[in-house]
């Protein structure tokens, strides 16, 4: 079952198994005149879970939105530097953001299912991307993969909005899986969920990482420790001054290293709760 859902193209995986799925180089993001992110050089390893941590307003969501060009939707956002997906630059007007977004899916902080049936929540994305296969099968497969099938199999034609928050979030994950992306970006996917739903989503991520590259923003240190393989810590730049909150990347390490033996004093201060 799970093996059939979007295994990354064989050619891509053996040619570049060690190449990072996503890379940023000298990345800067401006909102109008204010600099939100400065000089971010980050490698996101393939088929791993990468956690982005850092205090509020340091640019985690901004960084995440660079990977699927959602910053395009912010009228005065400006991206400088380079972002690469599978080694190919994805900044600039020549890149087809629509195609990119199918390959780099996103799960939002607040569950946002479509005001449609559970079935159509899943089917819509596949349909608009020209999916030609068996739709019923795709819906079931995606829901199973998102560990939601057993709870909704009897009511596929009920509105997605009738589900609980945790179920809605898994529906959103299933919807993302249905278009067979290679990367899944998650912006605080559990912040609106109770501990049980959170645990289910975390199990799900663990299960998905064999086939997908996952980047998750979280404010929950325990969650970052539990689920991620690599952790990147962002911090507001102290030197910027003047109330500006320009985010910089202070440390990227394997998660167990970062949490037990942080290199940067700012990381240590943050993870031990003395900053933020």
């Amino acid at each position: 079952m799970s093996a059939t859902l979007a295994p990354p193209p064989a050619a891509a995986s053996d040619a570049s198994a060690d190449e990072p799925a996503l890379q940023t180089r000298a990345l800067r993001v401006w909102y109008g005149a204010s600099l939100a992110l400065r000089d971010v050089d980050l490698d996101v390893p393939r088929h791993r879970i990468t956690a982005l941590i850092g205090p509020s307003g340091c640019g985690k969501s901004t960084l995440l939105r660079c990977f699927n060009r959602m910053n395009d939707l912010v009228p005065d956002a400006r991206v400088e530097g380079d972002v690469r997906f599978d080694g190919v630059s994805i900044v600039g007007p020549k890149v087809d953001a629509v195609t990119l977004r199918r390959r780099v899916g996103m799960v939002f902080q607040k569950p946002n299912p479509f005001p449609k049936s559970i079935y159509n929540n899943i089917a819509w994305g596949a349909r608009i991307n020209g999916y030609r296969g068996d739709m019923d099968e795709l819906v079931e497969r995606s829901l199973r993969r998102a560990a939601l099938w057993d709870e909704v199999r009897e009511k596929l034609h009920r509105s997605g909005l009738d589900l609980s928050g945790g179920q809605q979030q898994r529906l959103c994950i299933a919807r993302t899986l249905a278009v067979e992306p290679e990367v899944i970006l998650m912006d605080e996917p559990c912040s609106a969920l109770d501990p049980i739903s959170t645990a289910r989503v975390e199990d799900l991520m663990e299960d998905l990482k064999d086939d997908y590259t996952i980047v998750i923003v979280t404010h929950n240190m325990q969650q970052a420790r539990r689920v991620s393989d690599v952790t990147a810590c962002l911090m507001p730049d102290v030197e910027a001054g003047g109330g500006r909150r320009t985010g910089v990347l202070v440390e990227v390490s394997p998660t167990d290293v970062l949490f037990t033996n942080p290199v940067d004093p700012r990381t240590e201060a943050y993870i031990t709760g003395r900053v933020g």
């Binding site: 977004r101 996103m106 946002n112 994305g125």
Partner: protein, 302 residues
């Protein structure tokens, strides 16, 4: 009063307690003004219409008879058919244009000076008196600035085009407002799946905004049924004996005929006029009712 504490607070509970009910009473009075006025009007009209004999008989006669100089045989058939034509044609022309303009302005046009100018212009158009639209329609559609091949003359089409212009600002503005109520999270969800802008708009934004668009549109259309002045300008005929057969035909409209009967000196026409008003009001109320039903149905489906 043990809870009352002296000191720097002067609660003035008595006058504050009074202020609420006084305000509520004033608002109630304001509400009743409208209701009372409508009730008195309806009663007066019904009384005038009934003075002729049976009210139902009168309405039936008025609905099937064409125009006549004899109050006993006068009716509104030509006007009712004309108004129905106007309504259908205006809906056909005005709704796609207005909704299209609203979608373009809200979903596609980048914010900027040009958009601001267009917005202001549309807002101003909504306040232009309807006679002015009549003059515009006369010059542009009926006479086509004197280009004889294009002039539509006093045809249904010229009237419908004029009324379309009249309701366009309303439809554009309500469409934009309805689109603005669609939460950004819905757009983001669709975008993040790799939807193009058109797919987002067609698949999610428009369906979500549809109840609002429809309500505004139907309320806009009910103006079409009641408008008189612009139709007089573009040549709705006062006395026609047969209803129009096509968009290029000559026509009359219900409110125009009511206006003509009201001008008749013979007091026997008062019942005819009143009956026509009742038919018009019934039409408007049923259109509003349809708007409400549509809105509620869509709301429940969410």
């Amino acid at each position: 009063m043990s809870v009352e504490s002296a000191g720097r607070f002067h609660p003035r509970r008595r006058s504050r307690a009074l202020a609420g009910p006084v305000f509520a009473a004033a608002c109630l009075l304001a509400t009743l003004t409208g209701v009372l006025a409508l009730a008195v009007l309806t009663l007066a009209v019904v009384a005038a219409a009934a003075s002729d004999g049976g009210l139902i008989d009168l309405l039936h006669r008025l609905a099937v008879n064409p125009q006549s100089g004899d109050p006993a045989r006068a009716g509104f058939r030509v006007g009712i058919v004309g108004s129905a034509w106007l309504l259908a044609l205006t809906a056909l022309i005005g709704i796609p244009t207005g909704v299209g303009a609203g979608v373009f302005l809200e979903e596609y046009m980048p914010a900027g000076r040009l958009k601001g100018a267009i917005q202001t212009n549309i807002a101003n158009l909504a306040g232009v008196p309807s006679v002015v639209y009549g003059i515009l329609g006369l010059a542009v559609f009926a006479r086509a600035f004197g280009v004889s091949g294009l002039a539509l003359g006093p045809s249904l089409l010229a009237g419908a085009l004029t009324l379309s212009l009249l309701i366009l600002p309303t439809i554009v503005v309500t469409t934009q407002e309805a689109l603005r109520t669609v939460p950004p999270s819905l757009r983001h969800a669709a975008m993040a799946l790799g939807a193009t802008r058109w797919q987002v708009v067609a698949g999610h934004v428009l369906p979500s905004a549809l109840p609002g668009i429809l309500t505004g549109t139907i309320l806009g259309l009910s103006r079409v049924v009641g408008e008189t002045a612009p139709l007089l300008m573009v040549g709705a005929a006062g006395s026609l004996l047969r209803p129009p057969r096509g968009p290029m035909d000559r026509y009359s409209a219900l409110p125009v005929e009511i206006y003509n009967y009201a001008k008749e000196p013979d007091p026997a026409f008062q019942a005819v006029t009143a009956g026509g008003i009742l038919i018009l009001v019934a039409l408007l109320l049923s259109m509003n009712a349809v708007a409400i039903v549509i809105r509620d149905r869509f709301r429940r489906r969410r």
